[in-house]
Every structure is written in C-alpha cells, then in structure tokens.
C-alpha cells in the first residue's frame, strides 16, 4: 500500500462524504428546521434523477436536465407539502413516519408508471468528463471534483440562509413555536412550503448530480436516505455544519473501512475469509461509529444551540 493510494482513498472518502452531504443538506433543513421526519426525501432525490435523465435524453443536454431536476423536485416538494405535509406539523413524529412512508410507495410506483421498469441512462456532461492528474501522480475523475465543489457551495449557501437571514430566523422560530410566529404576523405556512420545496430541490439536485455516476432507477433513493439520516444524526440534527462534518466523517470512515478492514482481517483470519469478514465489518462500520458517537454525545457531534 502506497502513500499515494492512501491519499487517493482519503480523497474518495471526502468525495463520498460530500455526495452524502448533498443529500443530507435538504434533509437536515426539513428535518431540523421544520421538525419533520421526511422518509420520502429519497423519493425526491429519485424524482430529480429521473427528471434530469429524461430531459437530458430529450434535449441532449445534461445542464438543461439539471435545471429540470431542480424544477421537478421543487414542484414535487411543493405539491407534497401543500397536500400532505402541511397537515402533519402539529402531529407527532409517528404520523409523519407513516405518511412519508406511504409517499415512498406512491413515488416509487408512480415513477415506474411514468418511466417504465428499466434503469434510465444519464451521463456526465462532456465538460466534466474524464480524469485529471493529481499531484502525486494518480488520476482523479473531474466529475468527482465537481461534486466536491457543488457540495461546498450548497453548504455555504444554506448556512448563510439559515443563520444570517431574517427568513432563516423566522423558519427557526416557527420550528419551536408555530402558533406564536403566526400570532406575530408571519405567514409561516407559505414559508414552510418554500422551505420544503427548497429542501426538495436540494434532494433533486443531489439526485441529478449523483445519478450521473450511478444507476437511475426506481428505489435508488432508499439506501442513500438511510445514510443521509445517519449523517445528520451524527452531525446533530438541524445543523448544516454538523451535516457537512457528519457526512465527511461517514464518507471517510466508510471508504477507509472498505479499503483497510479486509487488509486488517488478514492478520486474524485465513486470507480466504478475510475479504468477506472484512467486508462484513466494513458494511456495519458506519452504524457502529454512529452508535458510539451517540452513546457518548446523545445529541450528535454538533448539536445546534437550540435542540
């Protein structure tokens, strides 16, 4: 194992982390700010990916597809908020779990209805194709670097929005006491529709960006959803900073675990089994890390000041 490989893996971990962050950002916004457990966030991610793939196939341009993914996911989010979520803010988490669970079923089946059962094709735009040489001699895909950049931008923008703008303050105020913010003359209902649509758009954006290097298929949002939940819980719910750092921690842990554990296992078990056992432990690793973190810090690493 060379230093260059280790560094490349570290970069891979960071990149995976940023990818998770793109997904987690919208989730933590909705989840932390509006106090809503949205299991259907993965579906919005899927909507984004499908919209991007379909429009890109139709127009031949990934970029138009990307815009379409934002629009489609935001629209889907707004509709869902108006029709369903709006009635759930005053309910406990349970009803939210059930309703958004139901939405997953509807979104998955609805998407299949529209797009058929086979995965769609979505490719990286020519601008971001290929690999560049990194210092140290290895090559690294341009697109993955682009994802890192996009994640950083989203993180910064969201952080500013929530902590610095009056909109952000009102959103947070509504989180702790919806009735009161309404009694002060703020139209919290519309505000929440906007926030939900924004969170959905972020999910759609993530779906489109990540969809280009994964499989655009029904159900694609579910594995990411669980990981995104892990991320925001480790980071501290509602904290953008926490989501970013949590995502990086999960990304690096997962990548390094997959890479190193099988090698480590060789020391303990016969090499024939080392790969499988190492792989098994690696697949549980982030959950183990999460359990340890929450056992020590029950509100995550960076609990927002209010939680």
């Amino acid at each position: 194992m060379t230093i260059a490989l280790a560094l490349e893996q570290l970069l891979n971990g960071i990149q995976l982390g940023v990818m998770l962050f793109l997904m987690a950002a919208g989730l933590t916004l909705i989840f932390g700010v509006m106090g809503l457990i949205n299991l259907a966030h993965g579906s919005l991610y899927m909507v984004g990916a499908f919209a991007c793939a379909a429009v890109a196939a139709w127009t031949g341009s990934f970029w138009i597809g990307l815009v379409a993914s934002l629009v489609a996911a935001a629209a889907a989010g707004a509709i869902v908020e108006l029709a369903v979520i709006r009635r759930l803010y005053d309910r406990d988490h349970l009803d939210q779990v059930l309703a958004t669970f139901a939405l997953i079923l509807m979104f998955s089946e609805g998407t299949r209805w529209l797009f058929g059962s086979f995965p769609l094709y979505l490719d990286i735009p020519p601008l971001l194709q290929g690999a560049v040489a990194l210092p140290g001699g290895t090559e690294y895909p341009v697109y993955r670097l682009a994802i890192i950049a996009a994640g950083a931008l989203v993180a910064f923008g969201l952080y500013m929005l929530i902590s610095r703008t009056r909109l952000g303050m009102r959103i947070r105020a509504g989180e702790s006491d919806r009735e009161m913010i309404g009694a002060l003359g703020v139209d919290i209902r519309t505000l929440y529709t906007v926030v939900f649509a924004l969170g959905a758009a972020l999910a759609g954006f993530a779906g489109a960006m990540v969809g280009a290097i994964q499989s655009v298929q029904v159900g694609m949002g579910e594995p990411v959803l669980i990981l995104a939940f892990v991320v925001i819980v480790i980071g501290g719910i509602g904290s953008i900073k926490g989501a970013l750092l949590g995502a990086l921690l999960v990304g690096v842990t997962d990548t390094m675990g997959r890479f190193l554990l099988p090698k480590l296992m060789v020391l303990f078990v016969p090499p024939a089994q080392a790969g499988a056992i190492g792989g098994a432990v690696a697949s549980m690793l982030i959950y183990i890390v999460m359990a340890i973190i929450l056992a020590v810090k029950p509100r995550g690493l960076f609990p927002p000041a209010h939680a």
């Binding site: 989840f31 457990i37 299991l39 369903v84 009635r87 759930l88 309910r91 988490h93 349970l94 009803d95 779990v97 059930l98 309703a99 669970f101 139901a102 939405l103 997953i104 079923l105 509807m106 998955s108 089946e109 609805g110 209805w113 669980i226 939940f229 892990v230 819980v233 719910i237 499988a276 792989g279 098994a280 697949s283 549980m284 959950y287 183990i288 999460m290 359990a291 929450l294 056992a295 029950p298 509100r299 995550g300």
Partner: protein, 325 residues
Amino acid sequence: MILTRENLINLILAVALLAIPLIANAAGQPFYITLATRVAILALAATGLNLALGVGGLVSFGHAAFFGIGGYVAGILASHSFSGEPVLFGLSGTNQMWIIWLVAMALAGLVGLAIGAISLRTSGVYFIMITLAFAQMVYYFAVSWPAYGGEDGLSILVRNQFPGVMTMVPMNFFLICYVILLVGIALFAVIRASRFGAALQAARQNEVRVATVGIQPYRIRLTGFVLSAMITGLAGALFADLNRFVSPSMLSWHMSGELIVLIILGGTGRLFGPLAGAALYVAFEYALGGITERWQFFLGLILLLVVLFARGGLVGLLAGKAKHG
C-alpha cells in the same frame, strides 16, 4: 369490564380473527387460515412494539432486529436439530416450539437490553435513528454471515413441534398463534394499567416530572424496551415457523417501518390497535395485489388517507378519543 365502545370493537376484532379461519376451514379455503395466522403474528410483533412506542413514546425504528432475531433463533435451532450438530458449547438444537420461544424471547430481550441501554441515552429523533442504526448492524451481519445462509436465508424444512399438537395442520398452528396473541395483548393491558405502566406513560409525557417525583425514567424505559423486544422476538419465532423460512429481510428497515405502520394504522397506544392495523394492512396487501400490478401505489394512497383523515387509526376512528383515566 365495562362495555365501552372500544371494548366492543376489541371484542369484535378478536372474534373475527378467530371466525375467519374457522369459516375458511369449513369452506375448504385453507389459504385464509394462513393469512389470518400472518395477521395474528404481525399483530403480536406490533403489540410488542406498541408497548415501547404507544405506551412509552419510544419510537423504535429498529424493532425488526428483535423480530428477525426471534426468527433466526427458530431457524437456527431447527436447523441444528435437523442436522444434529451442536449450536454452541455442545448445546444441541431443538424443534420444540416452546423452547424456541423461550430462547427467542431471552435473546431478543438481551439484545434489547444492550441496544436500549445505549439508545435510551438519546431521545426524540436521535432515538429513532440510533435504533435504526442498530437494526442495520444486525441486518448487515445477517446478510454477510455465511453460516446460516446469509442473504439467501435459512429454510426450516419441517415446522417445529408443540407437544400434543400437529403443527403442520394450518388450523392448529393458527390456534397456537391466536392464543399467544391474546396472551400478549392481555399482558400489554395489564402492564399498561400497572404502576410500571403509569410510570412509563408519564415518562413519555414529561420526563423531568417523572425524575422529580423520584422515579428514574431511564430504568423505566429500559425495562419497557426490553419487554417490548421480548414480545416482538417471540412473534419473530412464530413468523419463521409460519413461513418455514427466515432471511435478513425480516431484519430490514422496511420491516421496522411496517411494524410502525401497523400500529399507527390501528391506533397508537390502543390495546387492539396492532391487531386492527395488521388485519387492515394484510387485507390491503392481499386484495390490492390481486387487482393491480400497481398495488403499492394504491397501498400508499390508502395509508396516506388514513393518516390524514383518520387520526387515531382504525380503532380511534371507530371508538373515539383515547381515555387516560
């Protein structure tokens, strides 16, 4: 017991669950017995969860772990009994249901103790997610552990045995499950009405208050969580025997989600909520699956309508608001 509207509904549910397979048996439609057995077992699993979730307010998104552990206990003990190899430290497998049940409850309880001890340090959404994380650990362990079939699962070649009963006869097995379900529900009722139940409910409503009267909320909750895990584990063992098969999908987060869905569908914290929910869910799944390939869409739609417009679930809809004395 006074015949309130809720009690009446409960009675009807209990009788209906018994009547359907009896009629099906007479009409030579054994499949409905299987379906009713499935309802009974899922209702038992959800009753377990209802203790933690409905009474204690502990929204566990990881109860599939206990369900699956129960299932694997049944599968593993049965397979060892079949092959004759010892399980651990020279202990042999068994195909006796009641031993399997005890082991399943004990193991689910132990794992529940470990998971609960850590998870209950957190609360709210963090609790939901940490229980999910533990269940995922168990899930991935089962998927990649080769000894008992991994992802492919483990078949139980012959249904396990119960003294004096031919368990392969669907009606007999149903009756076993039905009796256990009723015992489980009765236990739930007794616990909820007891001092412990009062403390558990109070801890849900106001943790600080409970502590300031001198009750440790953590211990109360942990006990509730372990009891809950044991009941769900028992249901898992029965489920494995019903399907004569266990696989990691019993441990998946979908399963945890479904258990929660059953409870809300029936009415959170209600005595017969899990049964009502399980009956409704299985009926939907079965009926819709026969009508259209898009059944999952319509299942989602129905669930959605229930949350939005039938607050308090089926029992709540029929019986009105819950009373807390």
